[in-house]
């Protein structure tokens, strides 16, 4: 049996382990929620202040009209690509090692999307009118401009959010049924409502799995389109270094890259705090670590491509921004980014001795920092240094932007902690199902794997 199979606990143990966080709450949970909640409240207060006092309290200025908020927007939408890659693609290729990982990943997607989708509203001058992006018949002739990348953003993010939330929710239904049967009172009613009419007939199982297959096929192109459309927010404007045809694939690769990093961090924390050592094995982290390495190489390839083409183009305004990031004002941030995104993952993930859980987490934290910096370095240096020297400017982030940025990280952690408290973070039925694989999943016996064992 493969190493994953021999360490698979019996179904009763699985259910007991995975339901424990729901049934037992320690003081650590309450204190964590309190601290994270306080930071989130601070961020919301900062936003309310910005809405009342006006945008002047932020660091936005002529001509750098996008700063931390749009950086965060692109960053969080990028993080949301974790779930799709892991869940959908691995589900389609029937990779067994994805089973304990799918829900952790899908949760990141759903919450990162919700947080990321807040930023187009936070960064608006008149956020109370954000609903004008929705095409509704209006007496005032308000109508969205379908030629604008921001309207594409609206459609794409809403489609992806709907798809991701459903993709997350559907496999939770059987698990809700399990919790419903063990809960009493109000909790029983709530989980009963969430479990819909789930009983577990063969028809229901088959329909559920078919639906998951279709959703997996549908959600992958949507995810690719979402970050491509986010990249179009930049490549549709004639700003030096922005109008690059490589932005679409570059952003998608970067999104998957940062998503895997976010997933590794979340999984490591879950393993530690919810005592899921029996379910999240080092091999899971190693596999994700290899994916992280591959994405680091891909990221490096895209950056090299973009830089070399710009260098040969040698256009005045392009090269000014080019040197600004590489040698002048932004050089420290730029080279930190390269170190975090390329050097660190290559060293840690490339050398198998370092590819431990701790190593993966260190590399992932570096990637998260590096990818945030990458988004910042795409936006701010270019906007501050466009074409007419008289209108160049320097961006200085103000407390309101910094507080809101930190608040989003706290919000992500808070939502994740609350989710893990109310829903089993690993899909119980998918884990127990792997112990009874269908005939199609059992490959024929070979000398290396006698008796046709599964390679879960």
């Amino acid at each position: 049996m493969s190493s994953v199979g021999t360490m698979q606990p019996v179904p009763d143990q699985v259910r007991a382990d995975l339901l424990r966080p729901l049934l037992r709450t320690s003081w650590k949970f309450y204190s964590l929620v309190l601290i994270l909640g306080a930071i989130v409240v601070a961020a919301l207060t900062a936003w309310a202040t910005q809405m009342t006092l006006g945008f002047g309290i932020s660091g936005i200025r002529w001509p750098i009209y996008w700063g931390f908020y749009v950086t965060n927007f692109v960053f969080w939408i990028g993080i949301s690509h974790a779930g799709t890659l892991i869940s959908a693609i691995l589900r389609l290729v029937n990779a067994g090692w994805r089973r304990p990982v799918t829900r952790c990943a899908e949760v990141i997607t759903a919450f990162a999307l919700m947080i990321g989708a807040m930023f187009p509203i936070i960064h608006l001058g008149r956020p109370w009118l954000a609903f004008w992006l929705f095409p509704y018949p209006s007496e005032r002739m308000i109508w969205p401009n379908f030629r604008s990348p921001l309207v594409w953003d609206f459609f794409a993010i809403n489609t992806y959010l709907t798809g991701s939330v459903l993709f997350l929710f559907l496999p939770m239904i059987p698990d809700f049924a399990v919790v419903r049967d063990r809960a009493t009172g109000m909790r029983r009613r709530i989980y009963g409502a969430l479990a819909l009419g789930w009983r577990g007939t063969p028809t229901q199982w088959h329909r559920l799995e078919t639906a998951m297959q279709i959703m997996a096929v549908a959600i992958i192109p949507v995810a690719v389109s979402v970050h491509t459309i986010v990249s179009f927010d930049f490549s549709m404007a004639p700003v030096p270094l922005w109008q690059s045809t490589i932005f679409g694939p570059y952003f998608v690769a970067g999104a998957i890259f940062s998503g895997i990093a976010g997933l590794i961090i979340a999984m490591a924390l879950l393993r530690r705090f919810l005592h899921l050592e029996r379910y999240l094995h080092p091999v899971h982290f190693q596999n994700l670590g290899k994916l992280l390495l591959m994405m680091a190489l891909l990221w490096g390839y895209f950056v090299f491509n973009e830089r070399l083409v710009t260098y040969y183009g040698n256009r005045v305004s392009d090269m000014q921004v080019f040197w600004r990031t590489q040698r002048l004002t932004f050089a420290p941030l730029y080279w930190t980014m390269v170190g975090c995104n390329f050097v660190l993952p290559l060293v840690i993930m490339g050398i198998s001795r370092f590819r431990t859980i701790t190593g993966c987490v260190i590399a992932s934290i570096g990637v998260v920092i590096g990818m945030w910096l990458e988004r910042f370095l795409i936006i701010v240096p270019a906007l501050g240094h466009k074409y007419l020297p008289y209108s160049f400017g320097v961006y200085r982030p103000q407390p309101v932007e910094i507080v809101i940025t930190i608040g989003t990280f706290a919000a992500m952690a808070l939502l994740y902690v609350l989710f893990a408290k109310f829903v089993p973070i690993i899909s119980m039925w998918e884990l127990t199902a792997v112990q009874h694989p269908g005939p199609a999943l059992i490959p024929p016996a070979t000398a290396e794997h006698p008796l046709g064992e599964t390679h879960a």
Binding site: R15, F146, V178, R199
Partner: protein, 167 residues
């Protein structure tokens, strides 16, 4: 009597019970089987009618695409505002809206088909036993004929230690 059913901890035992029930003359559609996870390795897992979910998903996609084309074409032609020298009805950017609404249609159609075909929204459900969610497989017959109850009980008791319940 609402139902007679047995609870089994082993999948093979449940399969045997199903086979014996069929031998006792119960139609496939009348046998209720509930399991805590999908059991692809057992034959009873495949006793379900075929699904047309893929077709409905494609249909949903088509509806989404048609909605998008109508939305962009009719509204852009009705309010012809020139922006940046682009044509009034610009098909390249419209393709993006069409793609997103197509996928949204496919996803929505899939979920609706799932809810309807799996009977998830029904207020009156069939029998259920909480033991199922703890790991047992339930095999039984709902609203059995009075005369046949003894035969069914016999069929369900094929495994020693099987718990038979009548409700």
């Amino acid at each position: 009597m609402k139902a007679i059913y047995g609870l089994y901890t082993e999948g093979t035992a449940a399969q045997r019970a199903v086979d014996h029930l069929r031998a006792a003359g119960v139609a496939d559609t009348d046998i209720t089987i509930l399991s805590p996870e999908p059991r692809e390795d057992l034959a009873f897992s495949h006793m379900h009618p075929p699904t047309y979910m893929w077709w409905f998903a494609c249909l949903g996609g088509l509806i989404g695409c048609a909605t998008a084309i109508a939305l962009v074409y009719i509204t852009e032609a009705s309010w012809p505002l020139v922006v940046g020298g682009l044509p009034i009805v610009a098909w390249w950017p419209n393709l993006i809206i069409m793609f997103e609404l197509t996928m949204l249609g496919a996803i929505a159609a899939t979920v609706i088909t799932l809810v309807v075909s799996a009977g998830l929204a029904r207020t009156r459900q069939g029998i259920y036993d909480p033991e199922v969610s703890s790991g047992s497989i339930l095999v039984g017959v709902e609203r059995p004929a009075l005369a046949a109850i003894a035969a069914y009980e016999q069929a369900l008791s094929t495994t020693p230690g099987a718990r038979i319940k009548k409700i």
